[in-house]
Symmetry: C2
Subunit: 652 residues, 2 copies
């Protein structure tokens, strides 16, 4: 069967970025650039031209960005997304007869051939162009063609450099003949978020530890804590679940299976007769208190992020109201969570294969919207890889349709493809393996994968040196220096990072037992009373790192991350810069918390925007020291007892 | 908006092979295997299972092949295509509750936990399986479940190793619950050709040079030549265009612009008052002569391949009958071919942007079908990259729908992406850059790309050491040894290869002028009288190479090609083997036509199917010599004055 139009000669393939054949959206924030590359060519020797077409999904009007040839039939162009929400983009290419004609007539003239007929061909092409133009442009093109015709008629030697001036060519280029243009067969998607999706500094805090010593802290106590967190420079305050905690099979301190009467339980054990996912734990306060916290945080430049943990204790209202949302065992009891031979009897997982899945999905979405209506625009999602993928894709899309400003952080520590798929399904940011990557080679390999491959298009890393679940052995054994090292790495390798505090900044390093990553006296199971003015606290360094992050746009995105050579396996060196190279940051970190390390770093000066034959200045944002270096090899020495890192602002 | 079914928890992505998101078909021949890989996983800890679904496009019945897990959520399976034509394949995966149950109950039993309830869960799953089964299988499953139930009721300690025997598990595995199975969103295509698409030995011959000295040869003269070609072991005899040659602007000997009255012109200058693409040049004979040649060739085990050169001389009947198929210049004349400043006034290219493109396409297709009806099943297509891509995709598909046995060789020597795209558009085989790749590093790099990347899925190389257009300088200067080297490389690197003879086997090496790749006294412009019994002829070696190719299935496909280390840049070593390693061939070639070269080759013995601690035998198919080697490093010495290569059959 013949196609409708068989004369579309341009071929378009290998469009990049394109995630899984266009099945998933790439991610950008407002004001960011989308650089598109594509293989584009046609048969024969004809010249071609092409454009990127893009638009907000809600608009009917395509916008255009030109494509320019690279090498090997690869073309490139870029555009900027300016609104939150969904964009689409595609590519269009066409055989450009005017471009071919111009190229060929010049070759012929330079070879001394008779081109009188060729001028007439050109005049015709220009006349056709004038018909596609209007107003003054049309007039100008028409005159141009007429001039050519009359000169040709007179047998004059047409001065081609003048006749084919840059200006005239540029005018004609505005009115290409796209009648037989080829459109790429797919429209590709972009999710455009607000800036915080790309650049965010998180602080995790248990509100119940914010009270007076020995007391169950409240959300109002938490408000008292805001200046402390704000002074360190964080902009997202993330609270573990604030809902009523279940009683049945409640865990005791240090994860013991029997709770004492005064044990407060695990915040992730959600639901009791006091309410479920839309309630505030009575001991934390009221919904009004929560909304006051949200407002106060805003005053300090911080947003509250809530924990979204879709699971229930046996006491959760859902268990009685919607028993069909849980799996039942042959004896009629509800199946608790297990990972044989381990049992988690305090948790009922939701059964995403329930026949009542439609109502379940709607209810789960309503939880998000409930808190969105109360000012929460960021959700840290607990273990999303244990809930069905199709739900996430639907829910996130639904929420963002009306609230494109809402962000979801995936707390998924599992196999790489599962974590990436959650990014594709719509999660804004994700936890990463950073928590366990401490050696130079593994940091280099992992962050190259995250930032320099297509992963960067759909997966935004959020780097956590610690979490309430993970006290890595590097932190357990490396003393205060280990915390400094991991802080600087997290805050400069990742445009988004977070710490679980105050445990982190006071350098809490006691594990439950040797070989365990669990904290001793973990806040997951009990209230802790932190000494915020501990002499071991590194809160001043935290503030310095966050200041550097806020001041330097180079640190506010990840795509430019490059690692540089050092001759010491304990010294890692990397840089980030803005797209226009107006801001360039160079980080050098001693990964050894025990010993001073020294060595030579080698820098690709030109790609860092440095003129190679001039000295250049480095301003260390951590201690305000100034250095002048010259050449591409320089010596560094870093003492873990002082500040084991440089965070340099590079100035020519 | 909610999806129709939200409970399909398995995620499927990164299916391989998949060409441009499924836009194009992969290629196989009848009896070949398709190995499919896919990323497949679900949320949580549930076990999953999956299958490849495949079928001839004309069948409604899916066939299935199981998928097995590799590592990192990657799964693999394979199936064999058994009929010519179009196949489709896709992947399906589902959460396998029975598999999870079996895994978990064993863990619990081994941890000494009470599993009485778990046995009931299992019994229920098995009962559900029995409902999906029928006959004896259903009965067996039902009994199995009943036994479990009664044992459980009695409080007996159920012997799980026995109850969950391999046999019973295998039975249950036949009846999986696929109600919530996920199907991959695309059906991918396979073009299945006959074997010659994969394995073919071509000989190009100008029939007009087959006559008595000084005479214009005929197709009947060509029949006389068949035994000569057949004895060398070729199975495709490819003839340059056999149609009437134009007179206007006919080229003279050695491409001079003025032809003498007795000059025969260029066979690719098609069309005169004597006819066009469906006619036989009167000096070559008649259509009946041609059909006799086809039949006689068959008797010698050879197929005739015709040249499909869609272009016309000014004398072609199309020019008068369908002037709208050509581009007209402002003075009313038809635009001849040009590549400024070069002019080809004897050729009118077809204008694929003609408004009458539908009729043009149909006519061009009818040319193919005309010759198909006269027994031609192979076409060598001249410069397909100078005709519109959409035409090829349509035409090849149309022809193969009714004649899946028809093969098209793309004679496109142009930029890599254009050549690959023609493969994607449906061309069965393609010429390659082999003609210009003479150094070890470039042969290794290029053939690794062709055979070990996805290119292998849609682009079948056909290797030509020479063509009437190309006498590479390596052949011009390297004497007889150069021809031997290039012969062995072509015939063993490529399952399909061809030579333009007798120029090749008689070692014709005179170029038009220094620096040119054109032959002196090229057959493109004149009749040549070849001395087939020249003492320089390497026809005996050609026959040897073809014998080895026919005898050894390892040489009949390209996917297994591997290069091996040698310590001499002039010695290249590579192997090919069948999928079951029952046939293993090892090639070692001296790339230097001037000097004896020696060195050590290193072989990965195990991957060649050789037990590393035993001697192994090598039988050289070129000279029948036998060697016994042991260990992975062995010495070779190759004299270009003798046979500059080993083509070893490896025997344990």
């Amino acid at each position: 069967m013949l196609p409708t139009e068989g004369r579309k000669r341009v071929q378009i393939e290998e469009v990049s970025p394109e995630i899984n054949g266009g099945r998933f959206a790439i991610k950008r924030t407002v004001g960011e650039e989308v650089r598109v590359e594509v293989d584009m060519f046609c048969d024969s020797h004809d010249a071609i031209s092409g454009v990127i077409l893009y638009r907000p999904e809600t608009s009917q009007q395509w916008l255009e960005a030109p494509l320019s040839p690279l090498v090997n039939d690869r073309w490139q162009g870029e555009f900027t997304v300016s609104e939150m929400g969904r964009y689409v983009y595609t590519v269009m290419g066409w055989v450009d007869h005017f471009k071919s004609w111009r190229r060929d007539i010049i070759k012929k003239i330079e070879a001394g051939q008779d081109v009188s007929l060729d001028w007439l061909v050109g005049a015709e092409l220009i006349e056709q162009g004038s018909q596609r133009a209007s107003g003054q442009d049309a007039e100008q093109l028409k005159n141009w063609a007429m001039t050519i015709r009359s000169q040709q008629k007179e047998g004059a030697d047409i001065p081609y450099m003048q006749t084919l001036s840059e200006e005239r060519i540029a005018l004609m280029t505005q009115y290409p003949d796209r009648e037989l243009a080829t459109s790429y067969e797919k429209e590709l998607k972009i999710t455009v978020d607000r800036e915080k999706a790309r650049f965010s500094s998180w602080y995790e805090l248990f509100p119940r530890s914010c009270g007076a010593p020995g007391q169950h802290g409240t959300l109002i106590d938490c408000i008292e804590h805001l200046p402390y967190v704000a002074e360190m420079g964080f902009d997202v305050l993330y609270l573990p679940p604030i809902h009523p905690v279940g009683y049945t099979f409640r865990k005791g301190k240090n994860n013991t299976t029997t709770a004492e009467p005064d044990d407060v339980g695990v915040p992730w054990g959600i639901g009791s007769s006091e309410g479920g996912h839309k309630s505030v734990h009575p001991k934390l306060g009221t919904l009004e208190d929560f909304q006051q916290l949200v407002r106060k945080a805003q005053e300090y430049g911080m947003e509250i992020a809530l924990d979204l943990a879709y699971q229930c204790t046996p006491d959760h209202p859902y268990v009685k109201e919607h028993p069909q949302w849980f799996k039942h065992r042959p004896d009629g009891t509800i199946q608790y969570a297990e990972n044989p031979p381990k049992k988690y009897q305090d948790i009922y997982p939701i059964d995403f294969e329930t026949e009542d899945w439609q109502n379940l999905w709607e209810e789960l979405k309503s939880v998000v919207l409930f808190w969105v209506d109360r000012g929460v625009k960021i959700f840290r999602v607990d273990n999303p890889h244990t809930k069905a993928f199709p739900f996430w894709e639907w829910m996130i899309e639904e929420v963002k349709q009306t609230h494109p400003e809402v962000l979801f952080l995936s707390e998924s520590f599992t196999r790489p493809k599962v974590m990436y798929r959650l990014g594709k399904m719509g999660f804004t940011q994700s936890y990463t393996y950073f928590t366990w990557r401490t050696a130079k080679w593994e940091l280099t390999e992992y962050f190259t994968e995250l930032t320099q491959t297509k992963v960067h298009q759909f997966f935004r890393p959020n780097l956590w040196p610690n979490t309430p679940d993970i006290l890595h052995k590097f932190l357990q054994h490396g003393g205060q220096a280990a915390f400094k090292i991991r802080l600087v790495l997290a805050g400069t390798l990742g445009a988004s990072y977070g710490i679980y505090g105050p445990a982190f900044e006071v350098c809490e390093n006691r594990a439950l037992k040797p070989g365990s990553e669990e904290y001793l006296n973990s806040e997951k199971y009990q209230i802790r009373d932190w000494d915020l003015n501990s002499p071991y606290s590194i809160k001043y360094l935290v503030a310095r790192v966050n200041q550097a992050r806020h001041k330097h746009p180079a640190l506010q995105s990840d795509g430019s991350l490059k690692f540089h050579t050092t001759d010491n396996e304990q010294i890692i060196c990397y840089s980030k810069q803005t797209e226009d190279s107006s801001d360039v940051m160079l980080m050098i970190v001693n990964l050894d918390p025990y010993n001073t390390q020294s060595g030579w770093v080698s820098l690709p000066l030109e790609s860092l925007g440095i003129y190679p034959y001039q000295p250049y200045q480095l301003h260390d944002m951590l201690n305000d020291a100034h250095y002048t270096w010259s050449g591409d090899r320089n010596y560094v020495e870093l003492d873990p007892r002082a500040i084991p890192a440089h965070v340099f602002w590079l100035k020519q």
